[in-house]
């Protein structure tokens, strides 16, 4: 997030797009409601009638995968009406001309044809967003999990820059990260092209710095992304994988492909706390521990580094994950020894400018937002105050592209996937929690009631859902949340895994699969 969670409460206008915040990020959802109670305007754009839409000043359901068109339509109105922040555009951005040229084509009337959102609603959104004193954009996987995920995000940045709704308190472009420490995993260099703190591996100077710190020679060749790894595994080019606490067997698009890839490996190590679907395929399984059994830090979605504290001893002979990695490294001939995790974060601070001032003694009581370059620095709740990371903010001229797969005669409905309030990710933890499992025990497919009636499907009946990739059997759940042409399936349930159906097409830059749109057909199950 460019801005902190606390700031949401004081926004004057909040634009939520592609985020079912009250279910997937409940405690941010509650901040949004608090803002609303303080008088903020709420704009919700989502194909499903989500809980927050009840409180929206304006709620629109754009057709799946038409985010760029919708946002361009909003931008078009703002430009035409002159509601944009001229000073901000002049002083802090570039690329405005080319951007303007593209956006001019997206009149609200044209956009209505693409998105299904009425032109007058597009005008109203533009008005609320551009003319409020401080507007924040909140989005989640509904924006990123598309072949145009990067374009979607850039379009939202265009919107914030055009209106000068960034670099100030209670504004910004705020992605909500799905898992507790995705932010931290990225910050710590869990990416093929960067060291911790986003420092490129291909930059010789960086490599030199890390070579010195780590006392060894390093490769400057960027590595493979997960998608590339799996492909390479299938082709025999990757022979071994080490997977720490993840379950790509359920979370990845196109599970069948993942399974084949992992099976093709010569050697697979999985370090996890449960025998996940992925761990089953491993040659060696190392039992790590849960967050309750270790000390450390998580970095939440607002870039705040917070303490994790050990409450109980590791279960059985499981060992703390950091300790296992140190031991393995030592056995491979590179001794790694730390008295405790605080010493590891000290090393992180040495090599990572954005974490340079983050030490355990400083986050005893309250976390710190990075960037926090030195011990005296108070942390940075909101980014881009006087300049963007690259200097001037760059407008992108972006054209709308439809999703890779659209409904047709054979597969006539849209399928979209997401989370529900009870479960988390692939359910390895939540489904083993009695209270949570009891709350929702099995997967379901939400279908519009009129649509269901046409198909002769009744509430609770078992149905089959097919796509070009596979099929699943699942319980039908008739719900007014859905529009007629679209069904929704939460992705937590392995026995009715939505990702057997989803389309493995992915964004060319971010390599995020298009989980949010594919085409399916539905049939009754006749037992």
């Amino acid at each position: 997030m460019t801005n902190s969670i606390a700031e949401i409460e004081n926004s004057k206008c909040i634009f939520i797009i592609g985020s079912n915040t009250s279910e997937a990020h409940p405690l941010i959802g509650s901040r949004i409601l608090k803002a609303k109670e303080k008088g903020a305007k709420l704009i919700v754009a989502d194909p499903r009638k989500i809980q927050l839409s009840f409180y929206a000043d304006i709620f629109v359901r754009h057709q799946l995968g038409t985010d760029v068109a919708l946002i361009n339509g909003i931008l078009n109105v703002i430009l035409k009406e002159g509601w944009y922040d001229r000073k901000f555009v002049e002083e802090r951005t570039e690329g405005f001309k080319e951007f303007r040229k593209v956006v001019e084509k997206y009149t609200p009337e044209n956009v209505e044809k693409i998105t299904g959102v009425r032109a007058q609603d597009i005008r109203k959104i533009a008005d609320l967003y551009a003319r409020s004193k401080s507007s924040s954009i909140i989005y989640a996987m509904g924006i990123t999990q598309h072949i145009t995920g990067v374009d979607n995000v850039k379009s939202l940045c265009n919107l914030a820059m055009l209106c000068g709704q960034i670099g100030r308190e209670s504004t910004g472009v705020n992605p909500l990260r799905g898992q507790n420490n995705v932010q931290g995993a990225c910050d710590m260099g869990g990416l093929p092209n960067v060291y911790p703190g986003n420092q490129p591996v291909s930059d010789g100077q960086m490599a030199e710095k890390f070579e010195k710190a780590w006392g060894t020679k390093l490769s400057t060749k960027p590595g493979m992304t997960l998608t590339e790894m799996l492909k390479a595994a299938m082709a025999g080019e990757v022979k071994a994988m080490f997977i720490l606490g993840e379950n790509p067997m359920v979370s990845d698009v196109d599970i069948q492909h993942v399974e084949k890839s992992l099976e093709a490996l010569d050697f697979l190590v999985v370090q996890d706390i449960f025998m996940s679907e992925t761990a089953r395929l491993a040659d060696v399984v190392l039992p790590g521990v849960s967050f309750a059994e270790k000390d450390g830090t998580f970095t939440n979605t607002e870039r705040k580094v917070k303490r994790v504290r050990k409450a109980i001893e590791p279960i059985g002979s499981s060992r703390q994950d950091w300790d296992i990695i140190c031991d393995l490294s030592t056995r491979m001939g590179y001794p790694m020894r730390y008295d405790d995790p605080s010493k590891i974060l000290e090393e992180v601070a040495q090599v990572t400018p954005s974490y340079g001032g983050i030490y355990y003694d400083r986050i005893e009581t309250e976390g710190l937002h990075w960037p926090c370059p030195n011990r005296a620095h108070p942390g940075t709740p909101y980014l881009h105050k006087d300049r963007f990371s690259r200097g001037l903010g760059l407008f992108h001229a972006i054209e709308y592209l439809p999703p890779e797969e659209l409904p047709d005669k054979e597969y006539p409905y849209f399928l979209t996937t997401g989370r529900i309030y009870v479960h988390y990710h692939t359910g390895t933890m939540t489904r083993r929690s009695p209270s949570l499992n009891k709350e929702v025990e099995e997967g379901f497919a939400e279908i519009n009631p009129r649509q269901a009636k046409e198909l002769g499907i009744i509430q609770g009946e078992r149905i089959k859902v097919f796509s070009r990739r596979g099929e699943i059997e699942i319980k039908a759940d008739l719900s007014e949340r859905m529009e007629r042409n679209t069904i929704f399936i939460p992705f937590h349930f392995v026995e009715s895994a939505a990702n057997r159906l989803t389309n493995p097409a992915f964004d060319p830059i971010a390599q995020i699969p298009e989980f949010k749109v594919c085409a399916v057909k539905i049939e009754k199950v006749n037992h």
């Binding site: 409940p26 390093l218 997960l226 022979k239 080490f242 720490l244 939440n300 279960i315 989980f515």
Partner: protein, 135 residues
């Protein structure tokens, strides 16, 4: 006899709510929101209130496992880690470091993620490091 509450950060979603784990004689017996935490402000979602439950689930892996003839066999830490170390070293020597790939974890701590990518880059010598968070 000991009852205490331990201040920590929720292990589920990215909100990062501050919560207390309740510990009675070394066992987790509950979770509750920290009233003075800046994120949770004394509230949690259903996952947070029950975050202690999965930890002591009977299906937890408690011993290292090595697969032999398609079956997992319990192993000691020495056996398991030596197997991993020698297999990875062998593949690295015979096929090159870029034949090995690592996935770090959005569920693990910063410290652990840092160490795993360090293992990949400094010890194995590859930048084949990614995570599942796109998903």
């Amino acid at each position: 006899m000991e009852y205490k509450t331990v201040l920590t950060t929720c292990g589920y979603c990215g909100c990062g709510c501050g919560l207390y784990l309740e510990v009675l004689d070394g066992q987790l017996v509950g979770a509750q929101p920290c009233k003075t935490d800046s994120v949770s402000q004394g509230g949690l979602c259903i996952k947070g209130w029950n975050v202690h439950e999965f930890v002591q689930n009977s299906e937890r892996l408690t011993k290292p496992l090595i697969k032999k003839d398609g079956q997992f066999k319990e192993a000691t830490w020495d056996e398991a880690l030596d197997t991993v170390a020698s297999r990875l070293k062998k593949i690295k020597e015979e096929n090159g470091p870029d034949r090995i790939a690592f996935l770090t974890s959005a569920k693990c701590t910063n410290e652990e993620n840092y160490l795993l990518q360090k293992l990949a880059r400094a010890v194995v010598g590859t930048n084949n490091v990614d995570h599942c968070a796109r998903l």
